[in-house]
């Protein structure tokens, strides 16, 4: 099932409008607050990055299209806070209790910010299945380009690659599988590869015969050719 966020190759979006190199990082103050609130809530530990990406993708196509970038972030965050029972619907309506929350002790403190941002959240893992593909090998991207575990679930396999022939460029290591991790099904780490596709294998009217697109794809997204 294609969702609105999976827009690679789509027609009709018009020109890209560059910005000055020295344009403000945050166009509006609330953009900065939206980013900061989202990162701070992530530190509560109630979800992972795949769950939060999926929350944005689950906005209705209508909302996804009409919301600006940080509106998507904040809407998805509100949805997630209720879904994970951190907040209630009454809270969002301003009718909730004002007492300290049970998770308050986990709240990100100013003095911890630098450490948390510097530490990051690596996605590589020990173990998992052994790599079955080697650099140079021809592969095909899975058809359909859907989550194989959960109907309509999160996946990082873009629709535009479905069924296309590509070539393994490099092995990145073994990484957490978003299709599983976004749904509480565990990290299910798998070998992750950079796979190169000729533009002419992806598009009916490529701009140039030698152009390529490279995607990072998990082992279960690929079939041998």
């Amino acid at each position: 099932m294609t969702r609105v966020h999976d827009m690679g190759g789509r027609f009709g979006d018009g020109p890209v409008v560059p910005e000055a190199e020295d344009a403000p990082v945050f166009d509006q103050d609330w953009h900065a607050r939206a980013l900061a609130v989202t990162l701070a809530c992530g530190a509560l530990g109630q979800w992972n990055i795949d769950v939060s990406r999926h929350a944005r993708e689950r906005l209705t196509p209508k909302d996804y299209t009409r919301f600006s970038y940080y509106e998507k972030w904040i809407a998805a965050l509100a949805d997630l806070l209720v879904e994970k029972r951190v907040l209630t619907q009454e809270d969002l309506q301003g009718q909730g209790a004002e007492e300290l929350h049970a998770l308050a002790e986990r709240a990100l403190k100013a003095e911890a910010v630098a450490g948390v941002l510097a530490k990051g959240g690596p996605a590589d893992r020990e173990g998992g299945p052994a790599p079955v593909f080697t650099p140079g090998q021809a592969v095909r991207a899975r058809v359909p380009a859907d989550n194989a575990l959960v109907s309509g679930g999160h996946t990082r396999l873009p629709h535009y690659t479905a069924g296309a022939r590509g070539y393994i460029l490099r092995l990145h290591g073994t990484h957490v599988l978003p299709d599983s991790n976004a749904h509480g099904l565990g990290e299910a780490p798998e070998p992750l590869y950079a796979v190169r596709f000729f533009a002419r294998e992806l598009w009916a009217h490529p701009e140039h015969p030698d152009d390529e697109v490279v995607l990072d794809l998990w082992q279960s997204y690929l079939e041998p050719l």
Partner: protein, 229 residues
């Protein structure tokens, strides 16, 4: 389909009944309970979370200060300038970027797994995230608006040369374009070609020629004396 996975808490009968009674345009999503104006919506959520002790406004200020003032394309520009100046550094950076960047202190959120790709006369590299907005934060900071735009996400993979034209960039016909769609947690930085006649410049002077766009691949490094983009 795994039972229960796609069932949202707010579709429980009591919650659904409550929603039906409310005049919101999208009854299935709690965000509609917040004020519709974006600035007010963020403020409302921040206030609710602060009252419950779930977020610390001082921590928010710290996060914003980090990405507004401390982490940005100046980091990536230093790496590029060093690579132009030091062949051994460049070779190590292209072979395995993570330890090299960690040594310089450029590690962290959204830059845990870095790959640096080199532009050459034969190949121009360009980075996009068609599915969301993945971007190497420790080296480039928060992505510019155009990088997150529908137009860039939709078009960069299908017609990169036309997108480059939107940036005023035209490549020779014998230069192949390789577009990197950041679909996993690996983040890509483009090492632009060093402008001619800049050999021997200090790393500081070289860094001043490296634009953010040149490290995404939608621009080229500036020639000395060229006006800022």
């Amino acid at each position: 389909m795994i039972d229960g996975i796609m069932k949202h808490d707010w579709t429980e009968p009591a919650a659904a009944a409550q929603h039906e009674a409310m005049p919101h345009d999208d009854p299935n999503h709690p965000h509609a309970l917040l004020p519709p104006d974006p600035a007010l919506r963020v403020k409302a959520l921040e206030t609710i979370l602060t009252q419950k002790g779930l977020i610390d406004p001082a921590a928010l200020d710290e996060i914003i200060d980090t990405y507004q003032n401390r982490i940005g394309p100046q980091n990536g520009a230093r790496v590029v300038a060093k690579a132009w100046s030091d062949p051994e550094f460049k070779a190590a950076l292209l072979a395995d970027a993570d330890p090299v960047l960690a040594d310089l202190g450029y590690y962290g959120r959204q830059g845990e797994h870095m790959v640096v790709v080199e532009n050459t006369p034969a190949q121009h590299n360009m980075v996009v995230c068609t599915l969301c907005s993945c971007y190497p934060w420790p080296l480039l900071g928060i992505p510019p608006g155009w990088y997150k735009s529908d137009a860039y996400r939709a078009r960069a993979v299908r017609e990169p040369r036309k997108v480059l034209a939107d940036f005023g960039v035209s490549l020779p016909e014998d230069t192949a374009v390789r577009v990197w769609d950041s679909t996993a947690e690996v983040r890509y930085l483009v090492l632009p070609m060093q402008p001619e006649g800049t050999e021997g410049l200090s790393e500081e002077d070289l860094a001043a020629l490296v634009t953010r766009d040149s490290m995404i691949g939608t621009g080229l490094a500036k020639a000395p004396g060229e006006a800022p983009a």
